[in-house]
């Protein structure tokens, strides 16, 4: 992961050189370890295919003998817990979007969502449908989109190469946005599903665990989740009253 480094060439009397060393500026050893981890991450990608759209038909040629994605260390996986990439192949109805969000929240970070085909970008040929969503990126953070209706296996390969290059450079960090701005994403989700919407994963507690709990994580929309707090407490899930910020009272 690329962190900021202290600019050595700067004048020692400037504010920049005299400031405290932040958490992002790590030791050389730590940076080498992180770079090695990113190198490995980029070369071992486990994909969870969410194949309710028609784009799924382009995946068998990509992973079998003709194009063989295993050359790049890409393997299909069966469950969200094991996966790194959530590949959304095509349109999402409001009903299936719920399942996608539940699936996405179960994946351990770092995780990457790829929107496949024009349906995930702007609704595509389902633009006039009352039942499908238009932009996937409103509901969960999308790392990359593949344009086309539908994209060919070559485009899928190109996407994977681009994703690998980004992960290698430590730039594929869209997933952190979900935790940093959870309230905004939840607002979009609640606009579709109503304010009683909640998933089994406690995203706010996770944001704290990942160290990504920021002032935009909580807000008026996460406040609606408070009604489930007694339920969470019965299960022994650490939640609500430790949330720190006073905005939830």
């Amino acid at each position: 992961m690329a962190g900021k480094t202290i600019p050595i060439e700067s004048d020692p009397n400037t504010e920049v050189a005299c400031r405290d060393v932040g958490g992002e500026e790590r030791s050389l050893l730590r940076r080498v370890v992180d770079q090695f981890a990113d190198h490995c991450r980029a070369r071992s990608l486990f994909v969870l295919h969410y194949c309710t759209g028609c784009g799924a038909i382009e995946l068998p040629p990509s992973i079998t003998a003709r194009f063989d994605l295993e050359r790049m260390g890409i393997q299909p996986m069966a469950t969200p817990r094991q996966a790194d990439i959530l590949l959304i192949t095509g349109y999402l109805a409001v009903k299936t979007l719920k399942r996608v969000i539940l699936t996405y929240e179960q994946m351990p970070g770092p995780k990457y969502v790829v929107g496949f085909g024009s349906c995930t970008i702007n609704g595509g040929m389902y633009w006039h449908s009352y039942a499908t969503i238009k932009q996937l990126g409103n509901y969960i953070p999308v790392e990359l989109y593949i344009a086309g209706c539908m994209p060919r296996p070559e485009a899928i390969q190109q996407m994977f190469l681009e994703l690998m290059a980004r992960i290698d450079r430590g730039e594929a960090r869209a997933w952190e946005d979900y935790y940093r701005r959870y309230d905004a994403y939840l607002a979009q989700q609640q606009s579709l599903f109503g304010t009683r919407w909640e998933g089994p994963t406690d995203v706010v507690a996770e944001a704290r665990r990942y160290g990504l709990l920021e002032h935009q994580t909580l807000g008026p929309h996460t406040a609606h989740l408070e009604r489930y707090a007694p339920y969470h407490r019965e299960l022994g899930v650490p939640l609500a009253d430790k949330r720190g910020s006073g905005s939830l009272v």
Binding site: R43, T64, A65, E70, R81, Q82
Partner: protein
């Protein structure tokens, strides 16, 4: 002569490194049979480092976390009892029975942990894993009994020494065949892949395993394939005087199930039990009878 303590550190390390190559071998073999190129050389390392680098977000409870140590600990313990060229480890202190007992520890550990995830796919998977174990353990125990009766000992170094002239596979070919099939079942490859079954029960026991848990299971897989090859090599192929010869035998033995697996779809759970209790058990019983009549 190295002390036992040094050997106890070296043996799992060597087994792990050989296991990594075996996993690569397995994936490349499968790729070549499917006319693909297959993963790059360091793929098993990339996978394991990546999985250990993931930030697991939830806990399924203390038992789930202890059990994964039981799984990895179990496979490492097995390796300590398997004599390899130049190192005997604990083989002189334990015997074949200890080793067969330890072979069951990973499955039992997995069962304890998976029970706590409350995932129905996991529960189905682990009950199938234990069913499969009942299936292949009976021929395995018959083979162990046959080998012990034939050589009059259960000590692995002594069994190795007695195979100096003729390999066990020529002395008791039926038992060797039964052992090979039991090993195949132990590796849980198609058609015996009832408990992983990704298309049916979403990888069964592994269904809730992400990040470090999955990484530990990848490590376990390395040890598992190595153990399967090495155990057969020690019992029936006379072990090895040197590492190249020993590794050649281990890879040759591992290649048999890993190649055949591409030919088959998956059996239903109860068919595995029927098949295991019919064919390898029958062959092992026949082999045992031949040895006792000799």
């Amino acid at each position: 002569m190295m002390t036992v303590a040094v050997q106890m550190l070296l043996m799992p390390l060597v087994a792990f490194l050989v296991g990594l190559v075996l996993v690569l071998f397995m994936r490349r073999l499968r790729a070549r049979i499917e006319r693909r190129v297959g993963p790059p050389l360091l793929q098993p390392v990339y996978d394991i480092v990546k999985l250990y680098g993931k930030r697991s977000q939830i806990s399924h409870g203390p038992m789930h976390e202890i059990s994964i140590m039981m799984v990895v600990g179990g496979v490492i313990a097995v390796v300590l009892f398997l004599p390899v060229p130049g190192m005997q480890g604990l083989a002189a202190h334990g015997d074949l029975i200890t080793l067969v007992y330890l072979l069951m520890v990973p499955s039992l550990g997995l069962a304890l942990g998976v029970g706590q995830c409350a995932n129905p796919n996991g529960s189905i998977g682990i009950s199938r894993a234990l069913t499969a174990m009942v299936g292949y353990d009976i021929p395995l125990m018959l083979v162990v009994a046959g080998v012990a009766i034939a050589y009059g000992t259960t000590s692995l170094p002594q069994i190795l020494a007695m195979q100096g002239g003729t390999w066990g596979v020529f002395q008791m070919p039926l038992l060797a065949l039964a052992m090979l099939i039991a090993t195949y079942g132990m590796l849980a490859k198609e058609p015996f892949e009832i408990y992983t079954a990704p298309a049916e029960i979403a990888t069964g026991p592994m269904v809730e395993m992400g990040g470090k848990f999955m990484g530990a299971l990848f490590v376990m897989q390395c040890f598992q394939i190595y153990t399967a090859g090495a155990l057969f090599t020690v019992l029936f192929l006379g072990g090895g005087a040197s590492w190249p010869g020993f590794l050649l035998k281990v890879f040759a033995v591992a290649a048999i199930p890993l190649t055949l697996t591409n030919l088959f779809p998956r059996y239903r759970a109860e068919r595995v039990l029927h098949w295991m209790w019919k064919w390898p058990t029958g062959i092992a019983l026949l082999g045992l009878a031949l040895i006792m009549l000799r």
